[in-house]
Symmetry: D2
Subunit: 381 residues, 4 copies
């Protein structure tokens, strides 16, 4: 049940289809079960030019923006949410590097030879990712970074981290850095063993005396908050929501197929003949479609500079994330024991869907921002 075809034919989606069919889909089960980082997928995406999707054409990229990133993540997310999340973080980091990073890294990304990721959240401030507490200290004309990062996607696997710290010299909530993932002093603490998104190599990272040059600063000292809110947030919220929408679509489609195919032999019926089951499927279909139309409207709001664009950006991750846990929950219910034993495929959707609401900004944090916006209160402070 293809829900929407508002997008015109796009060559990047054709290229993506091939990578999904040839690489991502075949490896999806292995990535989830073994919790292995989807390296082959990233290489294939790189060769297809898709790691440079939002890189400027002047550095060799495809020059796309929010809409393309959203549709790509949705499509990957239908087949492998772990891979989708790794790519989501790469695009989120790339957006910052495109604005402030060195040309050689931008070109490497566009060529498909550099994968980056975000490194914002810290143990001490939990999900309040905007509140950096880690240190950036001047040292012999360079900068020394020390931190306990709590949750980095692609930890030890990406080529670079887009990193937050307290400002070096100024006031402000944070400063952003580009840190090579092989810099001495960086240590990935523990392998990831999470409920869902098991292939995204998410792990705490410790930095002890990591030395970077002053040029590693992305944007101005103390202006990290503006980078997070102005550049990262719209991309991340849209892509995270797109992952949720992709998951919902799969959970709904798989559930409908399962109940249509499964027989209650003693009654001469299929499970789809039960009205209560059909009602659950209808709720799933509606929730999925509501989330997707809000997502597309959020893209439109951003693209046209609508005055409610920022409110929509805040809304979309909460809306899609909550909807996806509801839909996945119904999928588990509708598919019953078969789902529980992992036969239908919705069990993975169920586990992966929870990740969206756990990742910062969490649903509850977003509700607070949205509530403040609705009441005309300042979002921070």
């Amino acid at each position: 049940m293809s829900t929407i075809t508002t997008t015109q034919h796009s060559s990047y989606l054709d290229a993506l289809d091939r990578v999904i069919t040839e690489t991502i889909a075949p490896q999806a089960i292995e990535v989830d079960q073994a919790g292995s980082y989807p390296r082959a997928a990233l290489e294939a995406l790189g060769k297809a030019g898709l790691l440079g999707l939002i890189s400027a054409k002047e550095v060799g990229g495809l020059g796309e923006a929010h809409r393309a990133a959203t549709l790509v993540i949705e499509a990957i997310g239908k087949q492998c949410a772990s891979t989708a999340m790794v790519v989501c973080m790469h695009y989120a980091g790339t957006a910052v590097i495109e604005a402030y990073g060195p040309r050689e890294v931008r070109e490497a990304i566009a060529r498909g030879q550099h994968v980056t990721t975000l490194a914002f959240s810290e143990s001490s401030s939990r999900s309040h990712f905007w509140a950096a507490t880690s240190a950036a200290t001047p040292l012999d004309g360079k900068i020394r970074l020390d931190a306990k990062k709590s949750w980095i996607t692609g930890a030890g696997q990406a080529d670079s981290y887009v990193w937050s710290s307290r400002p070096v010299l100024t006031e402000g909530l944070s400063t952003i850095w580009l840190v090579p993932s092989d810099a001495p002093g960086l240590r990935v603490v523990a392998p990831f063993n999470g409920l869902g998104l098991r292939g995204n190599a998410s792990s705490p990272v410790i930095a002890e005396g990591v030395i970077v040059s002053e040029e590693a600063m992305l944007g101005e000292d103390g202006k990290g908050f503006d980078v997070m809110m102005g550049i990262v947030l719209p991309y991340f919220q849209l892509m995270n929501a797109a992952l949720s929408v992709g998951l919902m679509e799969m959970a709904t489609t798989r559930s409908a197929a399962h109940v249509s195919a499964t027989k209650l032999e003693h009654l001469g019926q299929s499970i789809a003949d039960l009205p209560t089951v059909r009602a659950y499927l209808a709720r799933m279909r509606i929730k999925t479609d509501m989330a997707r139309t809000l997502l597309l409207d959020t893209i439109a709001a951003l693209e046209s500079g609508r005055e409610d664009a920022m409110l929509r950006v805040l809304e979309i991750k909460a809306a899609a994330g909550e909807s996806s846990t509801e839909v996945a929950d119904l999928a588990m219910r509708v598919c019953g024991g078969a789902a529980f034993r992992k036969e239908v495929g919705v069990e993975r959707n169920f586990r992966d869907a929870r990740a969206s609401t756990v990742m910062a900004p969490t649903t509850d944090a977003l509700y607070d921002f949205i509530g403040k916006a609705v009441c005309g209160m300042p979002l921070f402070g």
Copy 2:
């Protein structure tokens, strides 16, 4: 918090604004409290040309269609849901008359001098409006109608009823008729005293030996089901959903205003300073925006003939109706005792919102249709 401005400037919306400001809004409280039919509003809409909104230009109408009808009902619904429902039923009936009715009635509608309404549901088949059980009997070259209609909006107030009965001579679920509301043998049974939509004059109507000519038939004998599904359903579902969306928007806006303005003097705070209240408001905002984006997408699906258009039409009333009861429920919670005592205005939203889910096709009936569609089963039979 104006949510969307995707619509271009439309002259009918300007005309509507004036009618709302001058007539509908000032009478809204009276219509609800006294349960009085909004006759002045209908006259003003007629004079402004808006009763002919979807009438063809060739009979003097504005020649608009689904989008315009939806936006008009949403706008009226924000101020007076009872008036909006009366107009909704007029447009739903007009769509049938435009297709099959006599030119003089079409012209009267376009001139603003004829209000019509639907008369489908019957006591014996409850909310299954598509199953007519009432009689249409040949009698001396004419047709005799006998029925117990259970729930007609504008009963005894509209100029005509778009009426369903069993077929006269053929197979089929029903046949549709245009019946003047002053035809001998028609009797409005009881005044309406409902929880919400108190001004829509909804009442049972008894027909005993009502005589109409054969020309009163709208469409072919036995083809009523096709008329209901092909013409009425898309209009009604969209407009009913638009009413729900308008209600939600008001409930959300009023709640935000109330909690921002109301002080807890002993704490030196407003209610909006409570994080739990902000979280409720955020949920209201998100649910409202999801319903509205699905509504706009449904219009787009219909206009472009998208293959999922019929599925969207089935979804939208269930989606918007359920969302509006959830949002109105949160509004009552957020506004507390003040809402309960009717001070904030959301108490009327709360009562009116329930009507959407009660009106056929009910949410549960729609869930069943949608579930069948999702599972590839036939919708009827």
Copy 3:
């Protein structure tokens, strides 16, 4: 479907049955529709000795306590929630008067010739009833009271108010007074026109220069908070929950009866033949029974001095109140248009049920207290 018969035969319940059958039930519709105070019911209860239910035997009362008050309110609440709330407030006030009030008032209550009520909530502190902001000023050896009370059940109808103010001379959150309802300077501001509990004569009351003697103080100056929490809260929470449980029981029973009796003639079925409807009824039955068993357990916890008694007291109004709105919502859904048109009787349950969650302490305030208790935090401050 009688749910529980754990209670032994109690003579007060027999007496109550007669009053309900002869007076309360016959007047229930009038009390709701006209919003009239249930004076006849109070007189009948007085004559039957039931206004003195929790008055000590030594002043002529029945000497009962929490369990009896709970069961009486539940039974009345099934037939007329407005009457039940008036009696609930009388018992809550009586508990304070029994502890600290003058013997003649205690005897008058026991004789059935004095009805009292609570007057705690104030405009300035909204639902935070424990934060009195109104004045009690020494004046010529007497006390002058000035206040804007926001929501008094039985305003202008009860014989006395159990009244809160700021302390006269000491620290503390409040002081409690017994104020005759005919004291000069008291003014009932407006008639009540609420969504539900329409017969409880709930209204704002203004006090300007009301003079009471020092003996009118109930308990010590500044110790009002202890009276509210130690005496009033357990009674009020239990009785308010009992009202919710009674409402739920009626909504469930009436809904089951309606769907069993109502036919879909074209299908040769009753509405109860629809599996989705049965599932809603099952949810209603379960929610009702869960609330009632928690209520009975809360009484047992109080009676035996269990260490979790106070936690249960906090829980029970939130649990029963939320459950009753959910059950009443399902009742409206299951009974559809018939409910909406007030034919089934559940529409009144639906309106009355909302009152429980609106009355202080609100569900959200209770959630905060319970959350603090669960986390080992102090409840206040």
Copy 4:
């Protein structure tokens, strides 16, 4: 926060405490992570006399019944839901063997040297466990069993199966048998790899030409349905619900401990200082307590032969199962990323809790039975 201590001191609970402390709790993580059958726990329970908990004293058992079985499963379930489910199935099977089985097996169970389990559900009838479709064929004075059992707890691990088939010679829905798990022709199809209850060795079992004697029949031919409903259902429903209640209690307790201990250093607060988090905890506490009081009331209803006992038995698994998934969902939300990374312990509760609703009779099947009971319809047919 120990919720209830209505039970008197029971020696079996003391013995259980030791087994839990010494064996079950230390192995809980291993059982879940490796998906290993809790053999050591069963041996320890056997030595402590607890496998014979509901065996009659005349065969050496403890002579307890529903209440004891419920409390034992709740206590085990708090530490290891997989172990609890294995023991639950053992007691459910034991109840049938006690009624109809051979003395030597009853004595072996009482001595702790025989573990049994249920083998009802079949591939062809899915969760409708009462509809046996497998064959029992007379063969040379013996009985040949052939079946595709879809979901047997302790498959290949228990010593015997309490097995359902179609009747041999009579009408009726089923006949019950006692089948040794090492009987030739029995084959465990696949290892279990489920989302939760990972240590309960749940697996499909194929029977091809399994030969049992006529004495293996438990009860009369064709009377299996009566055994299932009269003996098995009350035990299973109570114990399954007890497992859900134990899970909820742990999820609530662990969540409260986590948010109280976890700091937001940049704010100088703990997570418990957030009002929205406290509100979630309050909901968890209330849902847990409502489910537990309904459970205790169901035991009381059974013990006293109350007329609503069967309705309560139907309700309790649905009530506790649904509540436990809601509570576990809130626990995941409240504990955020820490829960997702399995640090808090609630992630296992979240996975295990889903199993209750998946196991037959499912929540939706129970809703249908309850709905029929509420409407006075026959439960089957």
